[in-house]
Symmetry: C2
Subunit: 115 residues, 2 copies
DNA sequence: CGTAGATACCTCGCCTGTCAAGGTATATAT
DNA sequence: ATATATACCTTGACAGGCGAGGTATCTACG
C-alpha cells in the first residue's frame, strides 16, 4: 500500500529540493512535512533522507549550515542553490515526461488518440 | 533525456504484463513495440527485460513456451496468467496513487485545491 | 565462401538508491 | 531514573537496471 521503494526511487532528491524552494529547512522538519502532506501515505526514511542530502550537497544543489539554536538538539539547515533551482525545474519536466511514457506503456490502447 | 533508470525502476514488470494482456508475445517483439510506442524515447534494455521475465515467471504472473517456428531463430513466447492479470490491475492502481503522491510532493502550493 | 546485419536468446557482475538497524546528544515530563 | 520527543548520523545488506559479453539462425552482398 501507499508507495513502494522502487517507485519512489529517483524522486527523493527532487522532493527535497521542492521543500527547500519554500525556504531553508532541516531534516527532521522536512521529514515531518512530507508525512503530513501525504497523510502518512509516504514516509521518507531517515537513512534515505540523509544520503540524499549528502548527494545533493556534493553536487552543489544545496548547501548546509548549523543553526544557532541554544536550546534543544542542534539542527543542520539546508538551503537550495541556484543550481538546485535549475535542477528542480529539469526534474519536474522529466517527471511530466516520464509520467506520459509510463502511462502510455501501462495502458494498452490509450493515448493513441491522434494517430 | 527521455527517462532515467531510477524512474523506470519498478515499472518494468507491469509494462511487460500490459503487453502480454493483448496476447502472447516474445522478448524481442515486446522490446520493439515498446520502442515504437514511445517513439524511441524509452528502450527496455535486454538484460533488464530477461531478468524481469524470470522474476515474473518465478512468481507465477506469466508462463513461457517455445514457439514451433521452423525457420529463423527460436522464440520463447510468454503468456500472462490470471494471477498476472490481477497483479497488473493492482499495479495500475498503485501507479495512479504514486503519481498523485509524487505530484503533491513535487509541486509546492498545488493540489491543495480542496483544503 | 566470407562477412555483415537482422533476428532471437541468454548470463555475469557492477552500480546505485533505499532502508533496517544501530548509534549519539539534548530537553522535558513523570 | 526512565521515557519520549527532538535532532543528527553511519554501516551494511539488498534488489533492480544495465553494460558487456556470449550463442545461434537466416538473408544479402560481393
Amino acid at each position: 500500500m501507499s508507495i513502494t521503494s522502487d517507485v519512489i526511487r529517483g524522486h527523493t532528491e527532487p522532493i527535497i529540493l521542492s521543500h527547500l524552494i519554500e525556504g531553508d529547512s532541516y531534516g527532521y522538519q522536512i521529514n515531518k512535512e512530507i508525512m503530513e502532506k501525504t497523510n502518512n501515505l509516504y514516509e521518507l526514511k531517515e537513512a534515505t533522507l540523509y544520503s540524499a542530502f549528502r548527494r545533493l550537497e556534493e553536487s552543489g544543489l544545496i548547501l548546509s549550515y548549523w543553526g544557532d539554536e541554544n536550546v534543544g538538539a542542534r539542527r543542520r539547515y539546508y538551503a537550495i542553490t541556484d543550481k538546485g533551482r535549475k535542477a528542480y525545474q529539469e526534474y519536474k519536466k522529466d517527471w511530466e515526461n516520464a509520467k506520459d511514457i509510463i502511462d502510455k506503456l501501462l495502458n494498452n490502447r490509450e493515448g493513441s488518440s491522434n494517430e
